[in-house]
């Protein structure tokens, strides 16, 4: 079971509260976490990554364990602390715009 933190707009869209607990397929990667998220909350399809290419949306960032994982491979295994459920995988909206 991993923990995921969503930004407020997506949290309202999902009608959920942080942290969101997910059981992704292993190995636990960005892709498997987002697959699990979208499987549980279909209304989030397309909001963090392109529905077809899987490419991260330009103004969405991914963090965990004080590291910016936004440009990491979506198939790279996430840090041990995230896999163990001790630290959350964080989805952020970039601080731009109004």
């Amino acid at each position: 079971m991993i923990q995921l933190i969503l930004p407020a707009p997506l949290l309202r869209l999902a009608q959920a509260d942080n942290p969101i607990r997910l059981e992704p397929a292993t190995p636990i990667t960005q892709r498997s976490v987002l697959d699990a998220l979208e499987n549980r909350f279909p209304q989030l399809l397309g909001t963090t990554r392109d529905r077809h290419s899987g490419k991260r949306r330009a103004y969405v960032r991914f963090y965990a364990c004080n590291r910016d994982l936004s440009d990491a491979s979506p198939d790279e295994t996430l840090p041990d602390e995230v896999v163990a459920g001790d630290e959350p995988f964080i989805v952020l909206g970039a601080l731009s715009g109004g």
Partner: protein, 371 residues
Amino acid sequence: MAGVRVLIGTRKGAFIIESDAARQQWHIDGPHFGGWEIYHVAGSPADPNRLYASQASDWFGQVMQRSNDGGKTWDAVGNEFSYIGDLGEHQWYDGSLRPWEFKRVWHLEPSAHDPDLVYAGVEDAALFVTRDGGMTWTELPGLRGHGSGPDWMPGAGGMCLHTILLHPDKPERITVAISAAGSFRSDDHGETWQPINQGLHSEQLPNPEAEVGHCVHRLAAHPTQPDVLFMQKHWDVMRSDDGGDSWREVSGNLPSDFGFPIAVHAHEPETIYVVPIKSDSEHYPPEGKLRVYRSRSGGEEWEALTAGLPQEHCYVNVLRDAMAVDTATPGGVYFGTTGGQVYASNDGGDSWQTIAAHLPAVLSVEVQTLP
């Protein structure tokens, strides 16, 4: 008539403003989808409690929402808008060519007869349709594939398909408008399309009377005269009496013929409304006076409507989808501003009241006349 429901899309959420038949006291509900851009909220003429909303953000993309209870509750529905076939290319601002890329839904046009049938106009310009209440959306690719795409270009707001007119007597006829490509018509349910821009004159084009490339801001038609089309173009107010085959200018005595919305009175097919804006660089009313102009002769002769509207220091804009009419008697007119005001007239524009004063910038206004 039980009352009126005004559906407002803003930069930071949707609002629903309701009144009883008198249209004098108003109740504001919202924000719905707070923080998200709501380009359009539309109700089904076939089922007034069926609403659709386009919810979007530059951060999180496009979400589509549906309500079955008049906006009390909402459910996210399908948000997959995939172009069919060859993407093709259109002009970018610098004249280079770029492939089509979906950005957002600008306008929703529900069928008059089927609450599950809705057309969606999107940026980059294309027409989509759902026949299952928004669960799935399918492009009508004949429009984008018309062949003139390399001559289409984005207006300042993007290359958007913003107007969809469904002919009430000819179900096979659909008319759309794109900024900046022009107007197009299909007479086979959207399979094939032809540009209908003869008579338009746009000085900013190398060929001012080109077949496509015109920045049409909005089209409107009355259901009893569906082949009479009215157009607010980037500059010029235009009229067609033959379903768009030819156009003539009817700007007449307007103080400026630049503007965005155009609307037709519900009971008077030759009574039309525009909101003149000073210029394409200033985007606010001439002389700081917010004036709706009404023509009772289908154009050419216009009168300013000012009672209840700010007549000094007003520098707001009224966007293309932000004016609508109700079908009550006397006919009502509504519009919203980029300053967050929504104005309503329950006497055809003779007088106006402020029904919302401090909303986020208004992107769209629709009105449902409730049975």
